[in-house]
């Protein structure tokens, strides 16, 4: 797109690339380097760049102390549950919006997609006593339900744009052959929309995985804690002391999602941005 034959433009481009690259990647590199440094090496005014005497002790401490493996498990359950649930209900809703015409379609569509605009903290105030009365506080279900609704707007929208561009002749032909509505959806449409479904599932997963606000409020018992509040409570007290441990724990807890993402990412970006590009 750009022409970089001229030395001046070439230099500008390289400087820009390096600066941005440093901003994007340096924190991650720094996290990894810090995690391998022994405690005394961290308490220096002018830090060393590479660990002078690399150690794994931060990792062993992160894995053996407290509930970090359990926090990861809880996060996998809640984020995974919400990803699955979001994908299922968003698929039905989006298919309905894209391929059916009926009274009330537009208002419902707007309402569902606008959910992202409601102040979450405000919702939480009223959600807390409701979940309390239903006995849902301190359960995975509470978090799954909460995450579903906030992933639902984007999920329905992504799937809606995907379904809308599938040729309706497909559906028509299947209908002529005598297939029912649900059969058409399950047997013909869903296999076709698999990349979009993966996008939506990953999106829902990331949403739940990254959350702190809901996990902090709806779950208070240590055994049900997810990664966000789990890490916060483990390291906040000693925030000033155990930086090596905090970085090691951060790396350990990020491994699962990075793995999942690496496997699925080629579908992801394409599906996510599809609705936002006009050609």
């Amino acid at each position: 797109m750009l022409q970089l034959r001229h030395p001046a433009s070439r230099v500008t481009f390289i400087v820009l690339a390096v600066l941005l690259g440093v901003f994007v990647f340096f924190p991650i590199v720094w996290m990894v380097l810090t995690a391998f440094k022994p405690q005394p090496e961290l308490f220096q005014r002018i830090p060393t760049i590479l660990p002078e005497s690399p150690t794994l002790q931060n990792f062993t401490r992160a894995l053996t102390r407290g509930g970090i493996p359990r926090y990861v498990l809880n996060s996998l359950i809640t984020a995974g549950g919400s990803a699955l649930f979001t994908t299922v209900i968003a698929t039905y809703a989006a298919y309905s919006f894209a391929k059916y015409r009926y009274w009330g379609r537009r208002p419902i569509m707007y309402l569902l997609v606008s959910a992202r605009m409601f102040p979450l903290a405000l919702i939480l105030i009223a959600l807390y006593p409701i979940f309390n009365r239903l006995g849902l506080l301190n359960t995975h279900v509470a978090l799954i339900l909460a995450y579903v609704v906030f992933a639902l707007p984007a999920a329905s929208y992504i799937l809606y744009s995907y379904f809308a561009q599938l040729p309706s002749e497909l559906i028509e032909a299947a209908r002529v052959d005598g297939a029912g509505d649900l059969r058409i959806l399950h047997v013909i449409i869903i296999p076709l929309a698999l990349p979009a479904l993966i996008t939506v599932a990953l999106y829902g997963f990331i949403w739940g995985w990254n959350d702190l606000l809901f996990a902090l409020t709806l779950v208070t018992s240590d055994s049900m804690r997810t990664i966000g509040p789990g890490l916060l409570f483990t390291y906040l007290g000693e925030f000033q002391v155990d930086w090596g441990g905090a970085m090691a724990a951060s790396i350990v807890t990020s491994v699962p999602i990075v793995l999942v993402f690496t496997l699925l990412q080629r579908f992801f970006v394409q599906g996510l941005t599809a609705g936002a590009v006009k050609s």
């Binding site: 797109m1 022409q3 970089l4 481009f13 820009l16 690259g21 901003f23 994007v24 924190p27 810090t34 005014r45 830090p47 299922v88 968003a90 039905y92 809703a93 309905s96 919006f97 894209a98 059916y100 015409r101 009926y102 379609r105 419902i108 569902l112 997609v113 959910a115 605009m117 409601f118 102040p119 903290a121 405000l122 919702i123 939480l124 105030i125 009223a126 409701i130 339900l145 609704v149 639902l152 309706s168 509505d181 995985w209 990254n210 959350d211 702190l212 606000l213 890490l231 916060l232 925030f239 951060s250 990020s254 999602i257 993402f261 690496t262 970006v269 941005t273 609705g275 936002a276 590009v277």
Partner: protein, 313 residues
Amino acid sequence: MPRSVNDTLASVASRPVGSRRPSAFTRHQAWVGWWLVLPALVVFAIVILYPFVRAIVGAFYRDTLFLPEPVFGGLRNFRDLFASAPVLASWTRTIVFVGAGTALTLLLGFAWAVVLNERWPGAKVLRSLSLLPWLFPSTVVAFLWAWIFNAQYGVINGLLLRLGVIDQPIFWLSSSAGAMSAVIVAKTWATIPFAMAFFLAALQTIPSDQLDAARVDGAGNASVMRHIVLPHVRYTTVILVVLVAVNNLQHFDIIYAMTEGGPVRATTVLAIEVFKQAFQSWNIGLASAIGVVWLATIAVPAYFYLRSIFGEE
């Protein structure tokens, strides 16, 4: 396109019906269509709509830890809200956070997308790796940046001291301006991948014949940027501004994990204000009132959000 296909379908299915009564096919469409959205609607009603209505009603009740049960208070919570300078100041702080955070994210995300859109060795790998910051839980992002900005052992102060730019460490997270800058940088860092991915997708759809034609006419990089690239990514930019701004406006996690809204109240944006009033001071009534006024402030952007994403239909 959906419409024309729909008409075809309708004409096939409703052939025998000549009257004004809704055809069997129309009724069937409505019936199945409603059943399909029902699960989404039910969850939406339980987790958003009902709590939302209750919270709005709650804004008109006095509801604190010291009252055995909520008492109707009319507009009292709103009067308290508008009489409290510290609470009002969280609006200003929110505007600073959302404004600066959104502008930085869009600017850097676009620049990064332009860089990664060029063909150079490693660009493809970096495209995938660039999504990493987005995958870290908010707490991890907060740890990372709190460590980088750490006053005594942080790498930023270390670098500045080493280069002789400063001779005393800067207390980033314990000064008002420093803490606000730090949370804006951290949140921007976590959102850049998102913006980059959208911009990159848009850049890749620029027709190459347009670019070639411009080059033949002798257009330089600046001119190509201005007359071809920027107009081409306009639609994506609008969507991104809205998505990122809404996201920043709601943002609680990274700020809370980094500063808990402090020092004093320097980074207490609306989301943190409501959370603290509700779950630390247990002044549910006031917290709800703040939320309601907050909602009123975003009603206009919300409208544009919906307009922009469903604009084409």
